[in-house]
Amino acid sequence: MNETSLFSAAFLTALFSSGVRQSIPLIYGSVGDTVSERSGVMGISLEGEMLFGAFFAYLFALRSGSLWVGVLMGAVAGMLSSLIVAVWSVLFRQDQSIVGIMFNILATGFTNFLNRMIFGTSNANISIDTFQPIAIPGLSKIPVVGEIFFNQDILAYLSVVLAAAVFFVLRRTKLGLQLGAVGENPRAAQAAGIPVYRVRVLSYMFCGFAAGVAGASLTLSTVGTFTEAISAGRGFICLAIVILSRWNPLTALVASFGFGSIQALQIRLQVQGSALPYQVFVALPYLITVLVLALAGHNIRAPRELGVPFEKESR
């Protein structure tokens, strides 16, 4: 393929439009994780919650015939499953990395198990009609930009709303301060009358909820069916995004779009073939994260008590 076609407007429009679609699950996941990490709980298990969300969203959308029922059930599945992680790592104070990894194994196994048992071994699951793009009157007519940003499906628009809403809550409400306090200094937060455990559990459940929607967006917005391990590491990319965006949901929105576009590019290259092996682009989000940790590591300040279990009565 030649240079002109790679950088033609049509190619770029299609690429970035697909990039936006690819970024939807990343936005939900990273915004959710931003909230829980602010309160001190790491979203290692994001990957698993996405799988739960993806599977149940697909199942219920298929059975009910309604995509919205699907999204809702996906979110609920993500949230309920995240309760496991919350109970284990917050209430029982177990190591978040171990609980998270075990939860991911559980989620992969469980969704595959159900998928096989319900839909059989054939990989040709029944496809459902996905969410259709909604052109925003006026804005979608802007050349290039309109097609990329204003002709997307409802979950894309809602993801922006969610990121903005979370940004607002974190910046402008007392809740945002409380979350930060719990993640920075739970002992002081407790002294200020904040129920540390409750805040951590609820913020983690919010993360699960968002991860569930992220999963739902995979099955109901892009693919139209559930395939095994459909999340394909997106949960971990979300973790990277949260670090890169320094726990800011709006920056996470932008970073998600960047990583989504890289993913879109990689898919295209895999189909079309290119001088650069597509693997480079698959690995790019992870490479960028690791490099940023190295280059800006000292300036990136995570919530101080991130990943540290809090014990109420200790001496």
Binding site: T173, G176, A181, R187, A191, A192, G193, I194, R304, E313
Partner: protein, 506 residues
């Protein structure tokens, strides 16, 4: 005040709290009236902080009840405490470092979580409180960038903001300079005049007599006496604080040190964990058979000096000689093998690994533990530890007991036994008797004097001037990371040492 007629503002009845089998608070009862400053006086580890944490809902008592304005209340969280008008300035400030004063105050407002931030409004009220009580502090800077005394002022602003009636100040002067103390007392008096009840916790007798109307003395978890400050008898209070007759060092005769230097250092410069230059060119020589006491107000470089001399913290400049040999400052293991024993101030997580059994902690900082064909001989290690435990009267279930289960005194004796096992030529002791009861303290001190008589050079960091005077051959005073004075205990007074600690010259 009509305090006598009314029910007391706060009343405690039979509060008991047990930690690890030890009663930190043993059936404590006390009353606090409106407009009164009640001092709670007691040594470290007497149970003052535990009691206050119970009043504030951080710990729950195992027995006893709390009454506010004559009403029995249940306080299960700080939120409950605040609802009953109880406010507290903790010994360790309860501030979110990344937030500024306004944000920290926002956290304790009764507003619902979903309410929008009212920074302007809160800021205005804080400015008003600042003006009213003469408190000068920056409201916009993240508090972690402010000095300790500034942070304390923010804590007090927090209390004033909530309008709490019962104000608990837990060792508020421990971190302050003398002139800062006076400003604090001014604020406290002002608060009492406004009809608030203040509980002032301290182990410093003089300041207690200066600020309070009434003194309750706490010792070993019990109230051992109560006096009106106006009629207070200093000696009586001191006796109440220390309990019964106990062995002391009065019979100890200091033997003169030898000529030969055990440790000497020159031009030591070091930074603390926050990258603040806390050692600023320290020169010091400790002779064999000498105990050198190091005095100083907390935060003037003692911790860093102890760690640097023990090789645990790397000095960025300067030289250290142990027995005449220059040490490689980047090699902590070299200090150990050159015979530097070290008793760190934190015995629970530095002096020992809390989850190791004692015999494994016996191997800590001890390269000469028994080995067989290059591998650890666990049985011999256990036997050695058991023997030392017997020699030093360490009471525990045996060498297999988890270190975390030992009481402070027993753990400290164990650490001391270990550090003395190899007969070190230098022994660095950082606050070795802090928080220990009188008997354990006596035991530790007499072991230090034995080590000295054996010929070791001992550096004793202590906040207890009596201890320093009792066993040191020489007292050096640290101020702002420098040695500002060297005194012989026989030729000086506590007042002179204190003056030097504050930066005055002798």
């Amino acid at each position: 005040m009509s305090g006598e007629k009314q029910a007391p503002l706060l009343e405690l009845q039979g509060i008991t709290k047990i930690f690890g089998g030890v009663a930190a608070n043993d059936s404590i009862s006390l009353k606090l009236h409106r407009g009164e400053v009640l001092a709670l006086l007691g040594e470290n580890g007497a149970g003052k902080s535990t009691l206050m944490n119970i009043i504030y809902g951080i710990y729950r008592p195992d027995a006893g009840s709390i009454l506010v304005n004559g009403q029995k209340v249940r306080i299960t969280s700080p939120k409950d405490a605040m609802a009953h008008g109880i406010g507290m300035v903790h010994q360790h400030f309860m501030l979110i470092g990344r937030f500024n004063a306004v944000e920290n105050v926002t956290l304790i407002t009764p507003d619902a979580s979903w309410s929008l931030l009212k920074k302007k409004q809160i800021r205005a009220s804080l400015e008003e409180l600042k003006a009213r009580y003469g408190i000068e502090v920056d409201l916009d800077c993240p508090v972690e960038q402010l000095s300790i005394s500034m942070q304390q002022k923010i804590e007090i602003l927090k209390l004033l903001y909530t309008g709490a009636d019962i104000l608990i100040l837990d060792e508020p002067t421990a971190v302050l300079l003398p002139q800062e103390c006076e400003a604090l007392f001014e604020i406290i008096r002002h608060m009492a005049q406004q009809g608030k009840g203040v509980i002032f916790i301290s182990h410093k007798l003089d300041e207690v007599l200066q600020i309070s109307q009434r003194v309750d003395v706490l010792s070993h978890g019990r109230i051992t006496g109560e006096v009106e400050t106006a009629q207070a008898d200093k000696d009586l209070i001191v006796r109440m604080m220390s309990g019964d007759n106990v062995p002391d060092m009065s019979g100890y005769v200091k033997k003169p040190p030898q000529e030969e230097a055990a440790l000497s250092c020159a031009g030591l410069v070091a930074f603390d964990d926050r990258k603040v230059r806390t050692l600023d060119g320290v020169d010091l020589t400790v002779h064999r058979g000498e105990i050198v006491g190091v005095a100083g107000v907390e935060g003037n470089g003692q911790d860093e000096l102890a760690e640097v001399l023990a090789g645990v913290r790397r000095a960025t400049a300067g030289q250290i000689f142990i027995g005449g040999k220059e040490m490689d400052l980047s090699d902590p293991a070299g200090f150990i093998s050159s015979g530097v024993g070290y008793i760190p101030s934190d015995r629970n997580t530095v002096g020992t690994v809390p989850d190791f059994p004692l015999y494994e902690n016996w191997m800590l900082r001890n390269p000469h533990y028994p080995k067989k064909r290059g591998l650890t001989d666990l049985r011999a290690v256990q036997a050695q530890a058991a023997q030392a435990m017997e020699d030093f009267d360490v009471r525990a279930a045996g060498p297999g007991a988890r270190s975390a289960n030992l009481s402070g005194g027993n753990l400290q004796k164990f650490i001391l036994a270990r550090e003395l096992e190899t007969e070190p030529q230098v022994l660095i002791c950082s606050y070795p008797t802090r928080g220990l009861d009188v008997k354990a303290s006596w035991f530790i001190r007499s072991q230090l004097t034995k080590a000295k008589e054996r010929g070791a050079g001992v550096v004793l960091f202590s906040g207890d001037l009596d201890e320093l005077f009792a066993i040191s051959d020489r007292i050096v005073v640290l101020y702002r990371g420098r040695v500002v004075g060297q005194l012989r205990p026989e030729e000086t007074t506590a007042q002179e040492v204190i003056l030097m600690m504050m930066g005055g010259t002798a």
